[in-house]
């Protein structure tokens, strides 16, 4: 069994769960703990990556620059990674600055059908000698054939691996097996999988991905992430150890890192709240949960109806503005019916 790369998204996807309010102390102490556990890559930043601090998704407490600098100073062996979505982040404003701080790994992401927006960002990062992955988000919205076509584009731009994200936590085991094994059999570069736990499948789906040939897995301490959270990292490492996969990660130290995250950073341990189940069923981006709850409360509409309507409209990550429009529409309808 070959070596598995673990990408820790605690300090990136976790940002969604605390409305992007990570502090320097949070980043320093968790980065240090993850580094000493031997985590391979530590992702840091706003939930939607660098350049994404916005009213649309949420304003970060710290600038990307501040977050990355603290992380850089606390990582020795682990690589420092960033998530980049073209359409939010640009090369000039965001990527080149991240490189000045010394980012090692760049994960350039697009919605699962829009890989050609990543061409210049992937090439630029490769030219600068970075380790570069292409990321296909909300992958449940495309067939395996489409995912392959998009992954091939990213491969042609220079991506050294492709990460398939189940951003809505919508997959069951067969969906993962079908897609990952198809991609693994055709692509030359390694495949990774990023799960969410809306339907309680995060760890199981990660293992299915591995057994289907994936070599890179994402996880976060205590599952700290958008909505119902991600694959719980320390569980993932333990399961991999039990299955005798090689990760070179120190189990005790990754357990310690999770304790640190729980005590110092996490406000509420992710559980599968009712709203997250609806988010998973409707196939809507997990990161919408907090926004939907706030807006539904403001407009006095059922957040579950908001999610199903968003699912019907096939909204993608980054379309948070539609939440207000949908809530307004549902509230108008409610008022008309009451009259």
């Amino acid at each position: 069994m070959g070596k598995i790369i673990i990408n820790d998204v605690t300090l990136r996807d976790g940002s969604h769960a605390i409305s992007h309010r990570l502090t320097k102390e949070h980043i320093a102490s968790y980065a240090k703990a993850a580094d000493s556990a031997g985590i391979h890559i530590v992702d840091v930043g706003h939930g939607n990556g660098i350049g994404a601090s916005s009213l649309q998704v949420g304003l970060s407490l710290l600038s990307d620059y501040e977050m990355l600098e603290v992380a850089r100073n606390n990582l020795i062996n682990s690589k420092l990674g960033v998530h980049v979505i073209p359409g939010f982040a640009t090369i000039k404003k965001d990527l080149s600055r991240a490189f000045e701080i010394g980012v090692d790994v760049v994960r350039v992401a697009s919605h699962c059908t829009e890989a050609d927006t990543t061409e210049r960002h992937i090439s630029y990062a490769r030219e600068k000698g970075k380790e570069v992955y292409g990321v296909l988000m909300m992958s449940h919205m495309a067939s395996k054939e489409v995912l392959l076509e998009e992954a091939l584009k990213m491969q042609s731009y220079g991506a050294e691996g492709i990460i398939i994200m189940d951003s809505a936590g919508a997959y069951l085991s067969n969906d993962v097996k079908d897609r990952i094994s198809f991609l693994v059999s055709t692509l030359k570069i390694p495949i990774g999988f990023h799960s969410h736990n809306n339907l309680g499948m995060a760890i199981a789906n990660s293992i299915t991905a591995l057994e289907s040939g994936a070599k890179i897995l994402d996880g976060s301490a205590r599952g700290f992430g958008a909505g119902a959270g991600n694959a719980q990292l320390e569980v993932l490492v333990a399961v991999l150890e039990k299955m005798r996969y090689e990760t070179n990660i120190d189990l005790y130290k990754v357990l310690d890192a999770a304790e640190i995250a729980e005590e110092e950073i996490i406000e509420a341990i992710p559980t599968i709240k009712s709203i997250s189940i609806v988010s998973g069923l409707s196939g809507v981006f997990s990161g919408f949960a907090k926004h939907v709850m706030r807006v539904a409360n403001e407009y006095k509409v059922d957040p579950r109806n908001v999610f199903f309507e968003l699912g019907k409209r096939k909204v993608i990550a980054g379309q948070e503005d539609i939440i207000v429009e949908v809530a307004l529409q549902l509230s108008n309808k409610q008022n008309r019916e009451a009259e």
Binding site: S54, L55, Q56, P86, G87, F88, T90, I91, K92, K93, H111, T113, E114, D116, T117, E119, R120, M141, R294, V295, E298, R313, K314, V315, I316, G318, Q319, D321, I322, V324, E325, L328
Partner: protein, 242 residues
């Protein structure tokens, strides 16, 4: 109709400079930087529909008249044509604006290879336009491509952080501006009128295309094309009157 056509791109104009009076450049930002120099040497009026950020910024509903004094007129971006007139109204009606952000979502099928390759230029040029017209120093632009079928209409949301906002005067100004834009883009409609939500102003518009030459979901293409046509028409009137 005796209209000259060619498949040679800019070379057709280099070979025969009298080919046309006015050039619409709808290639790409990278190509326009090259074309701009050639067209300047040939003394051609050019209306640039790429986010090349070279010519004088033109938002038809706001500064059309002054643009007629320039030889290279830049139509900013589709998201810019949808959001800048409203950002301009925010700038005209509100006193202390800390931040403006615009988010556009367009149908994947309406975004060609140049838009995709030039997504950074789209953001930079849109941001520069918002800053210029609203006078707000801190701005951000975001672009989403949504592949849903049937294709979605273009939707643009403007957020603003404003101290002591005056919503009444803003609503009045926005309504007037929307009507003005509707004269050349009939499918431009307000779907979230100025609303104060979560300590920010939110305004949202939808842009549906005419569906004449391009599909109706391509409102993003229609709005910038229609804006460019209004400039050309005004320019033609001006030439005819001289």
């Amino acid at each position: 109709m005796s209209v000259n056509v060619s498949d040679q791109g800019i070379d057709a104009i280099i070979k025969n400079p009298d080919y046309c009076d006015l050039v619409f450049d709808a290639t790409s930002a990278l190509s326009h930087r090259h074309h701009a120099q050639i067209l300047r040497e040939l003394d051609k009026v050019v209306i640039d529909l790429t986010p090349a950020n070279v010519g004088h910024f033109c938002i038809s509903a706001v500064n059309l008249d002054e643009c007629l004094n320039y030889k290279n007129i830049n139509m900013v971006t589709c998201g810019g044509q949808a959001s800048i007139p409203l950002s301009y109204v925010i700038g005209q009606t509100q006193k202390e604006i800390d931040y403006i952000e615009v988010v556009s979502t367009i149908a994947s099928r309406s975004a060609g290879p140049a838009t995709r390759l030039n997504i950074d230029e789209y953001i930079e040029t849109t941001e520069r336009g918002i800053e210029l017209f609203s006078k707000c120093k801190k701005v951000k632009a975001i672009l989403n491509l949504n592949p849903a079928e049937p294709c979605i209409d273009m939707q643009t949301t403007i957020y603003a952080l404003v101290k002591n906002p005056d919503l009444d005067i803003l609503k009045k100004g926005i309504n007037e501006m929307v009507q003005k834009i509707q004269r050349y883009v009939p499918g431009y409609s307000l779907i979230i009128p100025p609303t104060y939500e979560n300590n920010r102003i939110v305004i949202s518009v939808r842009v549906r295309g005419l569906g004449d030459y391009l599909p109706s979901y391509a409102g993003n293409l229609d709005i910038i094309n229609c804006a460019a046509i209004t400039v050309a028409e005004e320019y033609a009137k001006l030439m005819a009157s001289r």
